[in-house]
Symmetry: C3
Subunit: 163 residues, 3 copies
Amino acid sequence: MTTEVDKNQKLTMIVFDGDLDKAMASFIIATGAAAMGKQVTMFFTFWGLNVLRKDESANVKKPFLEKMFERMMPRGPKKLGLSNMNMAGMGPKVMKKMMKEKNVSSLDELIEMAQDLDVKMVACTMSMDVMGLTQEELIDDLDYAGVASYLSEADEANTNLFI
Amino acid sequence: MTTEVDKNQKLTMIVFDGDLDKAMASFIIATGAAAMGKQVTMFFTFWGLNVLRKDESANVKKPFLEKMFERMMPRGPKKLGLSNMNMAGMGPKVMKKMMKEKNVSSLDELIEMAQDLDVKMVACTMSMDVMGLTQEELIDDLDYAGVASYLSEADEANTNLFI
Amino acid sequence: MTTEVDKNQKLTMIVFDGDLDKAMASFIIATGAAAMGKQVTMFFTFWGLNVLRKDESANVKKPFLEKMFERMMPRGPKKLGLSNMNMAGMGPKVMKKMMKEKNVSSLDELIEMAQDLDVKMVACTMSMDVMGLTQEELIDDLDYAGVASYLSEADEANTNLFI
């Protein structure tokens, strides 16, 4: 007799993009699923890591290219652009205003909500290494892992999205 | 005894992007799956809602920001751009011409085909609210729902894509 | 009695985007999964086909629009841009340098590794037709198929990603 795990109890997401709108979408799905009692794992990789950055500089010493990349990439939820109609930063401002008027939670609030709901947030260590990002530059309470860990978690879940 | 549902009978997609090429890809998968007898649910959110817009203005009264957003976003399949090589609107024209020559259905035709094959097309109500889009501005025969409804449908399907 | 296939033995991906970073992500997942003993099928469609192009021109005779498209699209892994911070080609150079320093395999190496690990790479015939790409312009040892073939493979896999 095999004990069949209920894969509907779990959902995973790879958050590859670092755009405000895609980050919003992924956290709306994550918090919605967690509120329904599902175990949710979000795996942040490449530009998705920018969603997890602290908004102040951590003053970590690093080589020139890493420094340059770090400076050019948006630092945390407040700095993210839109995948569409970004209009040099106007788009995100307009969208945030529209969301606030409709009482939609901000990305900051969604991330906090996800942490309260025990959504597991994993930073991809290989991407961190390539982009020269260190643990002290990212928000607290993250897990750190690689692709093998993601694949094992995906095996346990019915819904696995790449965002 | 549990009655095990065959998850291969169902497929879901979140259509987040509003680009012509991604919309084409999602409708090619949707109509292909429906033609194979699968139940297909497409959940349109954020820019994906533009795919469902009527091409004429519905003259709905709305606040300034919503009006501005509405005017700037592409109105329906004929106005969508490409995610790549858009070249200020030249790209979509070239691609449409190439598709027509190869007898590939246009996006308009694919949407009609999807409706004939009973593909369930759902507009995300939260996104509609944020972007200030109303039901009368979208094509007919849509369903309207939120993230919880999507998650329930995804639980019933083996293949769940985010496009 | 039904023989239940273990869906965790298989993983599929649709590679739609032709950006260096997304291609890297898909091959890192593919080789990781194959190294864990999974059967992996990558289905390349639309811009994703650019990842599979040979870097020299195959001098295939084709109509004007196809020729133009072919010339403008990046020819193979070495020519791909980034989805973010492309900066007119500077971004990919910087990222490649950073990856090399961290001993991360290049896309070329990852593709070779995938082939060694028997990852099944399928070129979408409809996309090839639309974009005017022929088999001799793509790398060797590919499979050629359409959406129905993808859907059948997805039915056999637990994790199905759209990248």
